[in-house]
Subunit: 269 residues, 2 copies
């Protein structure tokens, strides 16, 4: 399970300001911090970038790849910004992402072919709504894969996000279990080793005590790892959660165990 840092995002005021001012330093500091904390890839969530979209995404990709050499996820609904980011990216880029929403099928999915890169497909219906259970998510997965295949893309380019919902939703725990089921079942359903990604913080986006939110995320993260999740998108500053991810990897991958693979918890959360 790869650890993708979700820390570089426009909802972070520092990042918002740095992107507006085209100020490399705060972004590079955060990118460097993500790397040191154990991230295997970094999500660049720029928001929709209503003004100077191409210029800003190009800037964002360039300043980050000056500092770290790892896959970058281009996380915006703006196709021009994604296009510019893909053009700027020297290494591996992952488009984040498309769904059955017509505008995304038309404007974002083709970019995966043009740039021969991975793309995240969300299991949302064509109106962008979350399916109510595992069966509906499977139905959406089949449709999504059909659209993906029509585009002539290779199975290894697809990363599916089954879409986690907040635990506090009326059927939150049920949906969380359904998501585990989807992760386990997708390879059989689609007939190839389907890569999957989950945005862990989605589980606890509603109000709740911080420590308990972290505990719920940690408990569910191990379940996701066990279900075979390929990538977890998470706050890399949650150091104990990151350590749990690494512990899961050490347990699951087998071989000789070493305590060194698991980060020491050195900061309070």
């Amino acid at each position: 399970m790869q650890i993708i840092a979700d820390n570089i995002q426009i909802t972070n005021k520092k990042i918002e300001k740095a992107l507006n001012d085209m100020d490399a330093l705060p972004i590079q500091e955060l990118a460097s911090q993500c790397k040191n904390a154990g991230a295997n890839a970094i999500d660049l969530n720029s928001g929709p970038l209503l003004k100077q979209a191409e210029k800003k995404m190009t800037f964002l990709v360039n300043v980050v790849q000056e500092i770290v050499d790892m896959p970058l996820l281009l996380d915006t609904s703006n196709p021009s910004a994604i296009h510019a980011g893909l053009k700027a990216c020297n290494g591996n880029a992952i488009i984040n992402g498309f769904s059955l929403e017509p505008a995304k099928l038309k404007n974002i999915l083709p970019l995966a072919r043009e740039f021969n890169c991975k793309i995240i497909g969300y299991l949302l219906d064509k109106n962008g709504m979350v399916p109510p259970n595992a069966d509906e998510r499977m139905r959406v997965a089949i449709q999504l894969y059909e659209e993906f295949s029509k585009m002539g893309l290779r199975t290894s380019q697809l990363v599916i996000d089954p879409v986690l919902v907040p635990i506090m939703w009326q059927d939150g725990p049920y949906q969380a279990m359904e998501v585990l089921d989807v992760i386990k079942t997708l390879p059989d359903l689609l007939g190839f080793p389907v890569q999957t990604i989950i945005g862990l913080s989605n589980l606890t986006t509603t109000n709740g005590p911080r420590t308990k939110k972290l505990i719920i995320e940690e408990a569910f993260l191990s379940m996701l790892a066990m279900a075979g999740l390929s990538m977890v998108l998470m706050n890399i500053n949650h150091q104990r959660t990151t350590s749990i991810a690494m512990a899961c990897n050490a347990l699951i991958k087998g071989g000789i165990f070493s305590w060194e693979e698991i980060l020491q918890e050195t900061v309070p959360q």
Copy 2:
């Protein structure tokens, strides 16, 4: 998944002394602490009790059940001590436990029939050795269940411990994954909803940094819960680990989620 406190054990110097001196207070304080920390049952690990076995186990059961009203696990290899404990116990008792070792089949297993109580069966071979993989554990489980059935016991009286080994053993992570597999497969193998128990601390009994040990235990605990484990035997003073167990239960049981079900982490570990 029920949480069984493993705190009342003879390796705790305070408990050893209290048991030798027949001093109720330290034992009752610890029992009360186990209850307050969220234990659903308490394991009474008296050791082999070479002297005054019956008297001491009777004392132990009596002082604990004066304070808490929950199932007690009688954890000793001494059949006379188990017998005395079962006689003294007012509520539910669980014998901990038997295996294919001839002396245990002969002297401990019949006590489950005599007292009509649950008994833990360890998946160890007849020499008390740990099987090398899931297949061998399954083979032992079938033999164990045959012995159990011959005794005329009901399936609901059996609790199987698939035996976790230290992560630092050469094949530790592999064995841990095999144990998950056994927990998932036992109901299909034996044809009834097999109850299972795991001693979580077995995973980290070798040397290692304390924080990292806790992280490994927490990561694996969620996997155990997801695999369908019925009971986890653990140190109830590891408050964050207890919270993880409760978080797993809240996630798995479904229904409306409440933050109150998950203990607040109030003490450093």
